[in-house]
């Protein structure tokens, strides 16, 4: 067994009972299997295929604590949850490390037919849904998914019943806060039944930049026939945090799913997206952007599989890299023999600014039939000299001109955000990110109307 895996297997073996006592049977049922996969796993290292800049072996080799006994964390959410997307009226839910928590405005304005709860809820609806869907998509061959399945004790279920349209955005704020190195093992399950519609915004916040923190996350999304989901993830963590996330989505016929991963501040991040279609006429918009500087790392892996025909994928990832940061994009779109009339477009564009920054880009199309429209492209470039000079000739300082150009570069990913409040807010956050450079929460100084929400929370 690999050394870096051993500590987790031992942890599991020693604390199996405690671990299982806090969780529902559906979660416990998969642990043994996950352990089996991990015992034989060989963790990807730097330079392993599709791992240009991330070494799971090294990242998981560190000694993080796991909150096996579900001790409540000494966290003051009002202190921790500052920035987020204020002024956006949402139904707000928290996970503090990997513990689910309600806020006073959690269920405000949510229609019947929507369930947002802890994975450990005892209700009839959650149990039935979780039992049916939990672990159905996440492949245990993926070490991130296997380790998450082995250790996850809590997380969030979002279930939207058939035909239910949710106007209000559901916001999940994930706060990582701990005095000692900690691995938060979070699980998210999103199930949209037929013709359901919902918008979800998940924000990661880490305020602490002195303690190592790992966010090990698995998201499973089922989009039923004719359903519509917009799922936004925004990371505003710190340089000491590691985020390993694997998202799995399965779309039934005529469903529309938008997934947009936004990395404003991070440490080391690997975001994996596995998407597939089970019915005709489904559309996926998979996009993301990252702003990297200092020593930050952002690694995106995407795997979209067209097994049935008449589906549409639009994929766009954009990075801006400076200093000694590293970025990677590996994207595979696979179109099977039977998947006729597939449309799939994949694009990765990057600006590598001054310094030692590096970008690795590997877009791939694998097409096994002729009756398709597909394209892919990649570009790694610098800021345009003539644009810069034009702006400077009008009096803009060089730095300001660069900043505007970088912002402009990311604007088409921001344009893809359909929630207008979020789009405006994001425009502002990106602007501040380029202008400030510091970690978001640390530089916020509390003027962001963060205190709007009364933070009495319930576990």
């Amino acid at each position: 067994m690999e050394e870096s895996i051993r500590q987790y297997i031992e942890l599991y073996e020693h604390h199996r009972d405690a671990l299982c006592s806090h969780s529902i049977p559906a979660m416990n049922a998969l642990r043994e299997q996950a352990a089996g996969h991990l015992r034989h796993a060989r963790l990807p290292r730097l330079g392993s295929e599709n791992y240009e800049i991330t070494s799971l072996s090294e990242l998981l080799g560190k000694d993080y604590g796991v909150n096996i006994n579900r001790l409540p964390m000494d966290v003051n959410p009002a202190e921790s949850f500052r920035c987020g997307v204020p002024r956006l009226s949402t139904s707000l839910f928290l996970t503090i490390n990997d513990r689910f928590a309600l806020t006073p405005i959690s269920t405000n304005g949510l229609p019947a037919g929507v369930t947002v709860c802890s994975l450990n809820s005892q209700g009839a609806v959650p149990s039935e849904i979780i039992g049916r869907y939990y672990g159905g998509l996440a492949s245990l061959d993926n070490p991130i998914a296997a380790l998450n399945t082995l250790l996850a004790q809590d997380g969030i279920l979002i279930h939207v019943a058939r035909g239910t349209k949710v106007d209000k955005t559901i916001q999940l704020v994930n706060i990582l806060q701990s005095a000692v190195p900690l691995m938060a093992v979070r699980r998210v399950l999103i199930v949209l039944e037929e013709n359901a519609e919902v918008n979800i915004l998940a924000c990661d916040h880490t305020q602490n930049n002195t303690v190592d923190m790992m966010n090990l996350q698995v998201v499973e999304i089922y989009a039923g026939a004719g359903s519509r989901l917009e799922y936004y993830e925004m990371e505003e963590s710190s340089v000491r945090s590691v985020r390993l996330s694997a998202l799995y989505a399965e779309q039934s016929a005529d469903s529309h799913v938008t997934i947009n991963g936004i990395t404003l501040y991070n440490g080391v991040t690997r975001n994996e997206y596995y998407c597939r279609f089970t019915g005709k006429g489904a559309e996926l918009s998979l996009c993301g952007m990252g702003i990297e500087d200092g020593e930050r790392r952002l690694d995106t892996y995407s795997h979209v599989e067209h097994t049935v025909g008449y589906c549409h994928t639009d994929e766009l990832f954009k990075y801006v890299l400076d200093d000694s940061s590293r970025g990677a994009f590996t994207g595979l779109v696979r179109v099977d023999e039977g998947a006729v009339k597939t449309e799939a477009y994949q694009s990765n564009r990057n600006i590598v600014g001054s310094g030692e920054a590096r970008m690795y880009s590997k877009p791939q199309l694998e097409i096994y039939n002729d009756d398709v429209k597909c394209s892919h492209g990649t570009a790694i470039g610098r800021l345009d000299e003539m644009q810069l000079f034009y702006m400077r000739s009008r009096g803009l300082a060089e730095e300001e001109a660069k900043l505007l150009l970088k912002q402009a570069f990311l604007s088409d990913v921001i344009e893809k955000v359909r929630l207008s409040h979020l789009r405006e807010r994001l425009t502002y956050l990106v602007e501040r990110r380029f202008a400030g450079g510091e970690d978001a929460c640390l530089s916020c100084k509390g003027q962001e109307s963060c205190g709007e929400v009364d933070m009495n929370i319930e576990y």
Partner: protein, 257 residues
């Protein structure tokens, strides 16, 4: 205001400007003409401070200061404006934001507070009317999808906003229809005063019918080979450049002997 003395410049190791001498005083309008590729745009780029060009010799004084030592943005603050022959498209940056940044950068340079939003919008409205620029263009990305003529109008609009002391207009007339030419020329004339000056780079007399130059220069192979009054432009219109080229060749030959 501007004294160019034996200016030499190159790009990618190729010498383009081979000793330019030029003096411009407040209130004057200069026209620079010359065959394609003679270095007119290069001169305007070098004066505006495009870092892609290397100055290899000579000096430029602007109101007594060393222009060549200034960054492009400081040149702009100090009152130099270049209307580009090929205005640059900047997708994703709106005209409004661009102009606000430009105006406030200049104010900051002079120790002034940023302009208030209402003040700024009022000014934009006023300046837009100088060149009859469509409001819709002002809300779009800088030059993106603008027609050739719209881009040129937009240059004059920016000039109106920035109120420069010296404007260099590089072929602002090319690509304009007759009405647009009149509007642009009138715009330039409206902004003219006894304190500022204009250098128009053009191939055509028709612009000079509207914007009357005091002095006309001919730039050829990186040098100003002839300077005269407005009648020179008329003569060029009639006779073309061949006689100038012959004159230059003859003089060069004499010198060599």
């Amino acid at each position: 205001m501007l004294k160019v003395n034996n200016l030499r410049a190159e790009i990618n190791g190729k010498e383009i400007l081979k000793g330019i001498n030029l003096e411009v005083r407040p209130g004057e309008v200069h026209a620079i003409m010359g065959p394609n590729g003679s270095g007119k745009s290069t001169l305007s780029m070098v004066l505006a401070g495009n870092p892609s060009y290397d100055v290899t010799g000579g000096s430029v004084e602007f109101y007594g200061k060393d222009l060549l030592a200034m960054s492009p943005e400081v040149r702009s603050h100090e009152g130099l404006f270049l209307g580009f022959q090929y205005p640059v498209e900047i997708p994703g940056v709106s005209m409004v934001n661009f102009m606000r940044a430009a105006v406030n950068a200049k104010r900051k340079y002079f120790g002034m507070e940023p302009m208030s939003a209402s003040e700024f919008l009022k000014m934009m409205r006023e300046k837009r009317s100088v060149v009859e620029l469509d409001n819709k263009l002002a809300s779009r990305s800088v030059n993106e999808g603008f027609s050739g003529g719209e881009k040129k109008r937009n240059e004059i609009f920016q000039m109106a906003v920035l109120e420069p002391r010296l404007s260099i207009l590089d072929e602002t007339d090319s690509g304009l229809d007759i009405d647009a030419l009149r509007i642009v020329a009138e715009g330039v004339n409206k902004l003219k005063s006894a304190d500022n000056a204009t250098i128009v780079i053009t191939h055509y007399q028709r612009l000079l019918d509207y914007i009357k130059p005091d002095i006309v220069h001919i730039l050829y192979k990186g040098r100003i080979v002839k300077t005269a009054g407005p009648e020179l432009a008329l003569e060029l219109e009639e006779r073309g450049y061949d006689w100038i080229k012959e004159e230059v060749e003859r003089k060069d030959a004499e010198q060599r002997r």
